[in-house]
């Protein structure tokens, strides 16, 4: 086995193996666990760096393993998977640091970090999946690895939301599986190939293909939180903040969105999807979700819940970009996969900091928090403004390309209004929060001050992650035209997809 | 087909059905057990009838051997069932 065939496996193993070892560590071996976590995350960053370079230079990284006749586990690095892998890898590193700080004294850390690593491994596997079969395997594994994280606290609410999460995701998984098997039966093993393969099937299969597309979208839509399949996401906010970060930015929601992108571009092919009339359907679903999520976010006082509804809305920009035929819309959707991740993880880190440091859970308790925790609040503000689409933060780039793509594809008539309405609503639910944080006078006492202000406003491991990710969000906007930036990479993906 | 064949063959089938009915429907263990034994007798009768070739002709020894085995197996099972039943009633009476 040469290096090219091993690299995808190594990328996967760099989080899987530490995860498995961590399960067997004693609760007290704090240092060893931290070392394993960080070593795994660091190794992954290096390996992914190699992979980015290689894919850019047209290397093929491919691992195959036969599970059954006609069913192969294929790990394959192409431009799209590398984009998602690098997002997950970087954010995993940051989240691990954050989680180590966040869970400093809580029980069952071995279990937590074990499943945490499994969760990321599943995401990596999903990103590298070279065919639909492999994708389904890691999609289900992701569900399994996430459940213990949501249930981690063991309180009745945690167990309840874990149950709700399972109900949605396992149901979605079953639907996805059905669609995948059906497709496998009529089209054989479906390797992900840029441009898709299904257009070659004879016409009499088109009806079945439409039904399968619907099944796949429902299955993926659950994790991507497409309305009305989003119900689990706001419930899952009871999980510890690092888990929320993982759910909203790195793993679960992204896995759904990524799956939609994969199916449209690399299984059906965007042209063929459009010919079948399915693209418009997806666009409508995305548009409804965007507007609905924003509306719901308006009325939430619980900060994490507000952020959760914001995720519902923002993730559908990716689906919306996919639904816009043409390279520019594609770029907008794909680049938002990265941008939304960076911005949303910042917001959740910040929310976690407020809760951990001062016991603040609700928007109404945030008066004047900017004076007590300026760095955190600054990071929060950058991410929030980015979400609204204020230049030069990353979110602006996404929305710009989406709008441009819609105009180019002749869909401006309904896409632009959706973008405008949602941006207005984004502003309506984020700006009041920023106003309170910076300009209102603080209440006489914080709800529960756990961490007193010392050298920093809060513990170091909690402070640096949001600051770094906020910086990234800013950089992704400022240096969008630099080589290897998310935008440039999305451009590369679009070129290969449309064979430009 | 000899007269004995259909006479004993049909009886075997009837015994099987009779035993089966009792084994399924009767609500007393002992009768159910006897029903199963009657079923077995029916099957054995069928086997011995198949072995029979007519007067003065040596019958098929293989089937005779099978039935011998079957009888011993049946009595083992009956014995175990009765021991279990006895244990149950002993405990019912104690409690």
């Amino acid at each position: 086995m040469n290096f090219d065939a091993t690299l995808p496996l190594l990328v996967l193993a760099s989080s899987l193996l530490p995860g498995l070892v961590i399960f067997f560590l004693r609760e007290e071996s704090h240092r060893l666990r931290t070392l394993l976590n960080l070593a795994g995350a660091g190794a992954k960053v290096i390996l992914v760096g190699i992979m980015i370079w290689g894919v850019f230079h047209q290397h093929t990284y491919l691992t195959r393993w036969t599970l059954a006749p006609g069913l192969e586990l294929v790990l394959h690095a192409d431009t799209l998977s590398v984009l998602f892998v690098s997002l997950s890898t970087v954010l995993w590193l940051v989240t691990t640091v954050y989680a180590i700080g966040y869970l400093e004294k809580s029980p069952h850390r071995s279990r937590f970090f074990g499943f945490f690593s499994l969760c990321v491994s599943a995401t990596i596997g999903l990103a590298l999946a070279g065919n639909l079969f492999t994708f389904v395997i890691f999609y289900e594994l992701l569900t399994l690895a996430t459940y213990p994280l949501i249930a981690h606290r063991g309180t009745p609410e945690a167990l309840r939301s874990a149950r709700i999460y399972l109900r949605y995701t396992l149901g979605g998984g079953a639907v996805l599986l059905t669609g995948a098997v059906w497709l496998h039966v009529i089209a054989g093993p479906n390797a992900f190939i840029e441009g898709g393969v299904l257009s070659q099937l004879p016409d009499e299969y088109h009806g079945q293909l439409k039904a399968i597309f619907l099944l796949l979208m429902i299955g993926l839509g659950v994790k991507a939180a497409l309305v009305p399949l989003h119900g689990w996401l706001p419930e899952a906010m009871v999980a510890p903040a690092p888990v929320s970060a993982l759910l909203h930015a790195v793993a679960v929601v992204k896995a759904g969105a990524f799956g939609i992108v994969r199916v449209v571009y690399d299984v059906y092919g965007v042209q063929f999807t459009s010919e079948l009339g399915l693209l418009a359907m997806l666009g409508v679903a995305a548009a409804i979700t965007i507007v609905y999520g924003s509306f719901k976010a308006l009325s939430q006082d619980n900060l994490k819940k507000r952020l959760a509804y914001s995720t519902v809305s923002q993730v559908s920009y990716i689906a919306l970009g996919t639904a816009i035929l043409g390279p520019i819309g594609t770029i907008g959707g794909i680049v938002h996969l990265v941008h939304q991740g960076i911005m949303k993880i910042t917001l959740f880190f910040a929310a976690g900091n407020y809760a951990e440091t001062l016991g603040i859970h609700n928007v109404s308790e945030m008066n004047g928090v900017g004076q007590r925790m300026p760095a955190t609040t600054l990071a929060f503000s950058i991410a929030a403004l980015g979400m609204i689409g204020i230049p030069p933060i990353a979110g602006f780039i996404s929305k710009w390309y989406l709008g441009l793509g819609a105009v180019e594809a002749g869909m401006a008539g309904w896409v632009l209004p959706v973008l405008i309405i949602s941006s207005v609503l984004n502003a309506a639910y984020f700006l009041p929060v920023l106003y309170r944080a910076w300009f209102c006078r603080p209440a006489p006492a914080w709800p529960a001050e756990h961490i007193p202000a010392a050298r920093y406003e809060t513990a170091g491991a909690l402070l640096w992650p949001p600051v770094i990710t906020a910086g990234l969000a800013l950089a992704a906007g400022l240096f969008a035209a630099a080589p290897y930036s998310p935008l440039e990479w999305a451009d590369l993906i679009a070129q290969r997809e449309y064979q430009l | 087909m000899l007269t004995a064949h259909w006479l004993y063959g049909i009886s075997g089938c009837l015994l099987l059905a009779l035993g089966l009915r009792t084994a399924l429907l009767h609500d007393m263990l002992l009768q159910r057990l006897i029903g199963i034994n009657v079923m077995g007798a029916g099957v054995f009768l069928v086997l011995i009838t198949v072995a029979y070739r007519g007067p003065g002709i040596a019958p098929d020894p293989v089937l005779h051997a099978l039935v011998l085995t079957g009888i011993v197996v049946a009595v083992s099972a009956t014995a175990l069932a009765l021991a279990l039943a006895r244990r149950l009633t002993a405990e019912q009476d104690d409690g």
Binding site: W65, T66, L67, A68, P69, L71, L73, P107, H108, R111, I137, E140, L141, T143, L144, Y147, P148, A151, H152, G154, L159, R163, L166, L170, G173, V175, L177, T178, V181, W182, H184, V185, I186 | L16, G19, A23, L29, R32, L33, I36, M39, G40, V43, V46, L47, L63, L66, T69, G70, V73, S76, A77, L80, A81, L84, A85, R87, L88, E91, G95
Partner: protein, 478 residues
């Protein structure tokens, strides 16, 4: 190499005799026997993969006059599963029964059960199969009642009566076959049998008996009490192996010996019964209060999946498509065997530690018995059919076969059954992850927890990720 076949039967039987004659040394003898028999099973598996199917004529008499033992890929795989489950459960039973006297009485029956399992999987003769079925039934009943608890004895007695009924039906079919074809040898019969009343009446009778023994809905009612009230290692083996070998025999008869007779309607009937078993068994598992009953009902449901394969396989054209689907059936059966045995062993630990198995009072198990909880979770993954378990590959093939033959009902049932399975498994895990403190502080003994963990890991990672050889073996040993 063909001698391995007879050694697989003689070895556990000799072990049974030795444990009976040397009761003081029974536990080491049983463990040595278990290891040796497992090694022989491994050898057989290797031999079949290298040389194809093997046969052995006992006493040197040609099959027909004498009795032949035969092993092909299917039986070799099931023999290996039997060996793994029995080995793990033997290690477990060595600590589960704390009294030496109880152990000394347990081992002979245990090894006789193993003998009968191996004998059944190897037998190539119809009447011999009847005797092995009776040996299997009696040893299973004796073990199910072992310990003498009232509920266990009661369930065992019902189990025995129904088992006898099943055997008698089987024997009736056998006698009809001998009357019609003058042979008991399966290989000879395969060539001689024709689609005619004698053959299909015989097949119907034998199948009825076997369906009762394999507890297919609606003939399942004896299973949950018997499997739930036995001691943990016995439950494991009853659920994982005993019903499975009866199913093996059905497969052997329907797909092999009487393959020409099977009509779509008959296979469809089995499919409908299987579908009902899936839905009803899963529903009951969801409703039950006790963990062991849950596991037992789940066995009823899981057997249903195996029967769904009958109509699907029949609808596929003979050749690679059918062989691939058949491999799915086998891997599903293997996965269930390993996973269910592991589940029962794990439940046994929980029951011994907490003194009960009421699901609603199991909060905190994940903290006190993490390895055992993990074993339950892994078993759950296999029962639901989630990746990367072998059951996932099996269900994929089931779904693919159903799609290919346009049998939509089975798809709905499979999906619904999997979701119900997820519901009952996560009901247990939900409580296990709960925060309340566990009643008693527990001491974990590795020898107790490892068997369950190893079995379930094999079911999930072993068969799921390295399951491809199963198909190769079925092909080379066909």
């Amino acid at each position: 190499m063909a001698e391995t076949l007879i050694w697989l039967i003689a070895m556990p039987m000799a072990g049974a005799v030795a444990t009976l004659l040397l009761p003081r040394q029974s536990t080491p003898i049983a463990c040595v026997t278990a290891v040796a028999a497992s090694l022989v099973a491994g050898t057989l598996l290797y031999a079949v993969s290298e040389q194809g199917s093997l046969s052995y004529e006992i006493g040197g008499w040609s099959a027909g006059l004498g009795i032949a033992l035969r092993a092909d890929g299917l039986s070799a795989l099931l023999l290996m599963m039997t060996a793994l489950v029995m080995l793990a459960s033997s290690v477990y039973a060595g600590t589960y029964f704390t009294k030496a006297a109880a152990r000394a009485r347990f081992w002979p029956l245990w090894l006789l059960l193993w003998t009968s399992l191996n004998a059944l999987l190897l037998s190539g003769d119809l009447f011999n199969l009847y005797v092995t079925l009776e040996l299997l039934g009696l040893s299973a009943v004796a073990l199910a009642s072992f310990g003498g608890k009232f509920a266990a004895v009661q369930a065992a007695l019902r189990y025995l009566l129904l088992g006898l009924l099943g055997s008698m039906m089987f024997l009736a079919g056998v006698s009809l076959i001998y009357a019609g074809y003058g042979t008991l040898d399966l290989a000879t019969l395969t060539l001689a049998v024709e689609p005619e009343p004698v053959a299909w009446t015989a097949l119907a009778l034998m199948s009825a008996g076997l369906l009762l023994k394999t507890a297919l809905f609606p003939l399942h009612f004896w299973l949950p009490p018997a499997h739930a009230s036995a001691s943990a290692p016995v439950s494991a083996v009853l659920s994982a192996l005993v019903v499975k070998v009866a199913f093996y025999l059905l497969v052997r008869l329907w797909m092999d010996v009487f393959a020409d007779l099977v009509t779509p309607a008959a296979a469809g009937l089995l499919g409908v019964m299987g579908a009902a078993a899936i839905l009803w068994g899963s529903w009951q598992a969801l409703r039950t209060e006790r963990l062991k009953l849950l596991a037992a009902w789940s066995t009823v449901a899981q057997l249903g999946y195996l029967f769904l394969f009958f109509p699907v396989l029949l609808a596929l054209p003979p050749g690679p498509a059918r062989d691939t689907a058949f491999g799915g059936l086998v891997i599903l059966a293997l996965t269930h065997g390993l996973a269910k045995a592991g589940l029962f062993l794990a439940i046994g630990i929980i029951q011994q530690r907490s003194g009960h198995d009421r699901i609603n009072e199991l909060n905190g198990t994940a903290q006190r018995l993490p390895a055992t909880t993990f074993a339950i979770a892994l078993a759950g993954v296999a029962l639901i059919g989630l990746p990367p378990s072998g059951a996932f590959l099996g269900k994929w093939q089931l779904l693919a076969g159903s799609f290919a033959s346009g049998q939509w009902l089975w798809i709905l049932v499979t999906i619904a059954g999997s979701l119900l399975a997820a519901a009952y498994i996560f009901r247990v895990l939900g409580h296990a992850f709960g925060n309340q403190s566990y009643p008693r502080h527990s001491v974990t003994i590795a020898r107790e927890e490892w068997p369950a963990l190893i079995l379930t890991t094999l079911a999930v990672a072993g068969l799921g990720l390295a399951g491809a050889p199963v198909w190769n073996l079925l092909e080379s040993g066909a």
